[in-house]
Symmetry: C2
Subunit: 133 residues, 2 copies
């Protein structure tokens, strides 16, 4: 095993996967500081993210490891990984290729709570046929 | 029931509490855009946050509703609430009073993954006896 892999494994083992073996991951654009999405990682996703430099998650829907951008080419190049005080959440600072949201927005948080219900606050930029995943 | 409460309840009912009745909440400083913390909300926490304008969460440790700052005075004044595409995560943009982290840092994400393990990237600013909670 390579040294980088040993380190990745050590990190992956040290975290607290509190929700059914998953840890919460927040993804932030490293330049604009906008929050792009929230997803979940298991140990394997943490290891893969550290060793490849590309964001990997655990897809709860498909129940498998998910390389973000594997279908769309909308990869997230990870520039830094921060860990929270309780070691049960990670923050990925990334360079986003394309857009992150499978619904075609520059952030999955494209709606805000307004006086009259949810209000869209971002323009639709994505190709509906080319999902962000 | 007041109109604001009805609206808050409608929002609270519309979300997807996918982890044992909880939704993931990311808290971001509305001015600096730094991520302050990640916590979890149940329906009651969403309703209380909307109606009071102060961040409320579900404390998994204490198993009760938790007004952030109830012990420390380190409240989070909520300026906007964003909802993600799958309606199972919320983003609170807040004005932080004091500091958010119970370990005494300006963000719970005060450590980064470095070549030699975790590295502290923020100075310690908090009074250890006055927890951020």
């Amino acid at each position: 095993m390579k040294l980088a892999e040993i380190k990745a494994q050590r990190l992956a083992e040290s975290l607290d996967y509190h929700f059914h073996g998953l840890i919460t991951a927040v993804v932030q654009d490293s330049t604009t500081k906008e929050i792009l999405m929230v997803a979940y990682m298991n140990r394997e996703a943490v290891k893969k993210t550290v060793t490849t430099g590309l964001a990997h998650f655990w897809s709860r829907k498909r129940e498998r490891l998910w390389l973000k951008g594997e279908r769309s080419g909308h990869f997230q190049e990870v520039e830094s990984i921060l860990i929270d005080c309780d070691e049960d959440a990670v923050l990925l600072k990334v360079k986003q290729i394309g857009y992150p949201c499978h619904k075609g927005y520059a952030s999955c948080f494209f709606r805000a709570v307004g006086k009259e219900g949810l209000k869209r606050i971002l323009p639709h930029i994505g190709d509906k046929n080319k999902k962000g995943e």
